[in-house]
């Protein structure tokens, strides 16, 4: 079933493209310590709001154009004619960073000699490399969706599945609870949960966990309702009655017999709801109550782009995290729609 679904997905150009691009994004995020030329918080206060560097081909290798700061107050940079620095690949570093937290990485994919700096996507208000921060931020922004969806689905399956299976008072209580949760405007609840939990979590790792928890606590209600509905419809099928007659426990029936039948729905709905988590994290960090400095996330980077200076002086490269968010969300939506078309052709939007 699973294998089949995947093969059908890759058979369509849109599905295969979205899947490959997403895989590349996740891969890049995982390899951030290797791919990024600088670490998350490496500042250079002499190069604030540096524009993206131009790359040149000179003497048989890639060079990066050097710039000088013409006007410090306006951060106006001009290229210095003829002055470039060679870009070196596979540079050993002393920084002890680990890929995925356990593979030590002593190399950087590319870098330039010390006094010069390479800014593929410019620098921010303290001269940190936007490209490197994008990669490190992707680790947080991209993983939050996956972890969040796991927690949500676990909760949704437990509550929805049991409610649908047992019915009665439990069903009634669970459904009223979800209705109530869904009635509260999401972001307001997010804010209050955040302020309630803020005292218990302080460092960035804990904040990350807290955000995932908050987002999943908000998201499970809808999932639980749909799973309840599906369970209800499967409840009276003969194969469920047969396993009941065999004396299997409800838990076992739920996991072994009902869940596999819900599998395709779950995959589709998971893919379509991951963007919600990415956007939720971005919104929280954007408001300044999510991921904190010096860590990086896409929403946090965007919140730094909120200054008037950025708008007035046209530092457009600080808006790239937004483009990254939009791209990821679109890719997930395309992937989800493709999967839905495969699982349930009834919903096809474009016939």
């Amino acid at each position: 079933m699973k294998n089949n679904l995947f093969r059908q997905l890759v058979a369509t150009p849109a599905g295969a493209g979205a899947f490959l691009l997403l895989a590349a994004l996740y891969f890049a995020a995982a390899l951030a310590p290797f791919l990024a030329p600088y670490s998350v918080s490496e500042q250079d206060l002499t190069r604030t709001y540096h524009p993206p560097c131009r790359l040149l081909w000179k003497d048989g290798r890639v060079h990066v154009q050097l710039y000088w700061n013409k006007d410090r107050t306006a951060s106006a940079y001009e290229p210095v004619a003829g002055q470039t620095a060679p870009v070196a690949f596979f540079v050993p570093t002393q920084k002890n960073e680990k890929i995925l937290g356990f593979i030590p990485c002593a190399w950087r994919f590319f870098s330039v000699e010390h006094p010069a700096r390479i800014y593929l996507l410019g620098s921010d208000s303290t001269g940190r490399d936007v490209f490197s921060r994008l990669l490190y931020g992707a680790q947080i922004s991209l993983s939050i969706g996956l972890i969040g969806i796991c927690i949500t689905f676990f909760l949704g399956i437990c509550v929805g599945g049991l409610a649908g299976y047992f019915g009665g008072i439990f069903d009634h209580a669970a459904m009223r609870l979800t209705e109530w949760l869904m009635a509260i405007p999401g972001l307001y609840l997010l804010l209050s949960l955040r302020s309630a939990l803020s005292s218990k979590f302080s460092d960035s790792g804990q904040i990350y966990i807290m955000i995932v928890l908050i987002l999943s606590l908000l998201g499970w209600a809808g999932t639980a309702r749909v799973i309840r509905g599906l369970t209800l419809s499967l409840r009276n099928r003969t194969f469920v009655q047969a396993s009941e007659a065999l004396g299997q426990t409800p838990w076992r029936i739920l996991w072994l017999h009902l869940l596999p039948n819900l599998f395709s729905y779950l995959v589709v709905s998971a893919t379509l709801s991951i963007p919600g988590y990415i956007l939720g994290e971005a919104a929280l960090s954007f408001l300044g109550i999510g991921i904190q400095e010096p860590s990086s996330s896409w929403g946090l980077m965007l919140s730094q782009a909120q200054e008037m200076k950025v708008f007035m002086l046209n530092f457009w490269w600080l808006l790239t995290p937004g483009a990254a968010i939009v791209t990821t969300v679109i890719l997930f939506n395309i992937l989800g729609d493709r999967l839905r078309d495969i699982v349930d052709p009834k919903f096809r939007m474009t016939p």
Binding site: S192, L287, L302, G322
Partner: protein, 308 residues
């Protein structure tokens, strides 16, 4: 339901460290007796459910408490801010309906044409665009071109303008926030409208109307459109909810003096009564929106009206 929501918010606010008296306690010129009397009045030394009961008692008398950061009663504060948010929400609702319905209808009538494909891709794209990023882009656009104000609801010289000038000024400031909040809604509504319209076109009553010899225009607009629009009205209630959440972000980015901005700032200052009042008011607007949607649906769909 409102009770439940306010109870939850109250409980959560209570878990947070400190309370709204912390900044006052830090000021030297306020006597301890005054603080003690305040603590007694709001039951701050009591457990949280007791505080909640006290708050409810006050609310029953239409007293939402006092805002310590703004130094005015909460009711007054809400009365100042809520109309702005309501205005913005209504504007973007009207905007999205006015754009989405014609687009959806045209896309459905000319199904499979270039126009249909272009709009469906555009809808796809704008559904994936987070509101706060769009707001940022809008501010960026305003700052770069200077065509629109970069934020706020009124200009500096608002007080000195004539009535017509004031209206024009406000409308000018409303353009960008309205578009930003409306775009996602336009896309969603357009897709629903297109799907509904296509469903209705295939219905039997359309064939019947055709066989009666009605003109194509009459069929499309008097028969199909009226049927296709009903599900859209049901979504009206839901769009209120997403508008309120979106307003929180958009208002903050665009510095729009509405309920969302107020709530957010009050949160940062732990101004509990303001937050509570704003959340209750927001939920009230939500319920009212749903009620309105139901009434509208009953008005437009006789099947619902005559059902017992």
């Amino acid at each position: 339901m409102l009770l439940g929501i306010s109870l939850l918010v109250f409980f959560l606010m209570n878990l947070a460290p400190g309370d709204f008296l912390t900044p006052i306690k830090a000021q030297r010129d306020i006597s301890p007796e005054y603080i003690a009397s305040l603590e007694k009045e709001f039951g701050l030394n009591e457990p949280w459910y007791w505080q909640y009961a006290l708050w409810l008692k006050h609310v029953a008398a239409c007293d939402f408490g006092y805002s310590w950061s703004y130094k005015i009663p909460v009711t007054e504060l809400l009365a100042q801010r809520a109309p702005a948010t309501l205005l913005l929400s209504l504007c973007s609702l009207v905007f999205s309906w006015l754009i989405a319905i014609p687009l959806g209808v045209v896309a459905a009538i000319y199904k499979g044409s270039i126009f249909d494909r272009a709009t469906s891709w555009l809808a796809y794209f704008s559904l994936s665009l987070p509101e706060f990023f769009l707001a940022l882009l809008a501010v960026y656009f305003a700052a770069q071109t200077g065509w629109f104000p970069t934020g706020g609801l009124t200009s500096f010289d608002f007080e000195f303008l004539s009535l017509a000038g004031q209206l024009k000024d406000m409308a000018w400031h409303l353009v960008l926030p309205t578009v930003v909040m409306g775009v996602g809604n336009v896309a969603a509504l357009m897709r629903v409208m297109r799907a509904n319209f296509l469903d209705s076109i295939r219905a039997e009553f359309v064939t019947a109307a055709r066989s009666k010899g009605l003109s194509e225009n009459q069929i499309m607009f008097r028969h199909v459109l009226r049927n296709a629009i009903n599900p859209l009205i049901t979504t009206l209630g839901f769009s209120f909810s997403s508008l309120l959440s979106g307003a929180l972000l958009v208002e903050n980015v665009m510095n729009y003096p509405g309920l969302g901005q107020l709530t957010y700032q009050a949160f940062l200052r732990e101004d509990a009564f303001v937050v509570l009042g704003a959340v209750v008011l927001g939920s009230l607007m939500l319920v009212a929106g749903n009620l309105l949607a139901d009434l509208l649906l009953a008005w437009s769909d006789p099947r619902i009206r005559h059902e017992k």
